[in-house]
Amino acid sequence: MTLTRMSLNALLAVVAAGVILWLTTSNSLLGMFTQAVIYAIFALGVGVLLKQNGLVSFGHALYFGAAGYSVAVILQLGWMPAEWAILVTLVGIGSASFLVGLVIVRVPGIAFGMLTLAIGQMAYLLAVRARGMTGGSDGMSIQWPNTLFGVSQSTLLKPSVLFFVSWVVLVLVTCVLVQVMRTRFGAITEAIRDNEERARFIGIRTAVPRAAVYALSAVVAGVAGLMSALNTGFVSPENLHWSVSAITLLMVVVGGVKSLAGPIIGAIVYFLFKDLLGEHATHSMAIFGAALIAVIVFSPDGLIGAFQRLFKRKKVHP
């Protein structure tokens, strides 16, 4: 995919958002869409780690929640304007996760997942225990300023504007990730994922690229956390809980891990499904669990894989 073609696709995606806005009149439905788009960004973060590194994270809620907490605390203390707070938060998450990554990517396979789970739960427990400014398990509200990036708060918090902004962020993040994968760095990480020993043999240092992918995926999760903080104006330890990481991982696997579209589809399907069930059943988690098992058993490469198979079968016939 060339750069022009990608810009064209991105433009088309933005137009699609306009069409969705035009067709959707209900604000609650739009709110649900916004949430779906935010989790799609989050799932992209988890998905890129799995796709480029072959590593499963059970603790990305850490970066999702930490982004919200970081902005909330900076704004509460009045250290800097909100725009700078956002930048500082993302840079902070990037550098912190890179350092964490350097240490933990050495741990193989499933133990890596358990390690991320442990680190995430540590943050959750800290947030629950920490009283005072962050309000412990009650969470804290975020005092966004009256204008953000020159847009007034009343405009920004309109459901339609929030949806559009989240959508544009999702498109931007996707474009950046696609570009990154096409670079030499992308090729190197794939080589390491497929065979770390061989990659080392041909003279590639493996720890740094792995940690860099980990940091990249953490920053993407942080972006999602910031969007969620803007959307709800609130952050609580629930954002950090391991079940959030697990549900996001589910979205990734249900959507399909082999392409970047998978996590996005997975997140959107999850929220549509949840909304659909919300009216009929109180036991949405059980039904979701059953649906998850069905998808994994019958289509190991996710919904994307199922679509592709449908498509291919038609083509193969003479």
Binding site: V103, G109, I110, A111, M114, L115, L117, A118, M285, V297
Partner: protein, 283 residues
């Protein structure tokens, strides 16, 4: 004070032994990280609650693990065996789906509120030990932990079946070529592991409260134990369980601010020092 804390730590460690040995056995043979183990623990506790209200605790101590054993065999037959050629991540997520279903089921049957189970009459007294009064029930928990550890070690080391389990954990294909029916073996091991989860649930019920979310803490602690011990290693898990129990109990007194973080810090330190865990050389 110190004696009581050490005692409480050992009791929690014993519970973790019962819980994590099942997890380690199943991982060793099936290479499955079983999130449903937490659900089986919870089901064991709730079944104990149900049985104890119509009959007594001792009946529950037999019925709940037996029911979980049957359930475990079914999970192996219609879950793990059919999925054994799949990516480990996918199987892990299937067990996570199972956890979601079972948590909802428990909330549906018994409600979302907390329940508690009384300490059985027979053990509702205190024993004076090292100058302190220790509740007899907790001593009983300690005994259960020791019996499970001892029983599993002897079974694996000296029985024919234990030999097969050890062989199949190292190389399932070669083992089945030697004429061992690994399907039956797996069903037995997963059934046994599930029974242990149920047993842990029953044993924990009188001193931890029952809720549909009770599995989370113990499950994560057991994961920590299994990973620290070295995935699939029983001896490693025993040592790690006792260390973790002690660490939590002592931490609560001497380092109250960070006590909840200690297990995780411990795990991170161990894995950085030895990525395959205390006893592990397997990947």
């Amino acid at each position: 004070m110190l004696t009581i804390q050490i005692f409480n730590g050992l009791v929690y460690g014993a519970l973790l032994i019962v819980m994590s040995s099942g997890l380690a056995l199943i991982y060793g043979l099936r290479r499955v990280v079983n999130f449903a183990h937490g659900a089986l623990y919870m089901l064991g506790a709730y079944i104990a609650f149900a049985v104890a209200t119509v009959s007594n605790f001792w009946a529950a101590l037999v019925i709940a693990p037996a029911a979980m054993a049957v359930f475990g065999v079914l999970i192996d037959r219609y879950g793990f065996r059919l999925l054994q050629d799949r990516e480990p991540l996918n199987v892990m997520l299937v067990t996570f789906g199972l956890l979601l279903i079972l948590e909802d089921l428990v909330a549906y049957i018994w409600g979302k509120g907390n329940h508690s189970l009384f300490t059985p009459e027979l053990l509702n007294f205190s024993v004076s030990l090292f100058g302190h009064d220790m509740p007899a029930y907790r001593i009983g928990v300690l005994v259960v932990g020791v019996l499970v550890a001892l029983g599993l070690t002897l079974w694996l080391r000296y029985s024919r079946m234990g030999l097969f389990v050890r062989a199949a954990s190292t190389d399932p294909v070669t083992t089945s070529m030697q004429g061992v029916n690994t399907d039956v073996l797996s069903a037995t091991v997963v059934g046994l592991g599930s029974a242990l989860a149920g047993l842990a649930g029953v044993v924990a019920a009188p001193f931890l409260s029952l809720s549909p979310h009770m599995s989370s803490d113990v499950l994560i602690d057991s994961f920590v134990v299994v990973v620290i011990g070295g995935l699939g290693s029983l001896a490693g898990a025993f040592v790690a369980a006792i260390l973790l129990g002690l660490m939590q109990a002592l931490g609560a007194v001497y380092l109250p601010g960070v006590s909840v973080l200690l297990p995780f810090i411990f795990m991170i330190a161990i894995l950085i020092w030895k990525p395959s865990g205390l006893a592990g050389s397997r990947t």
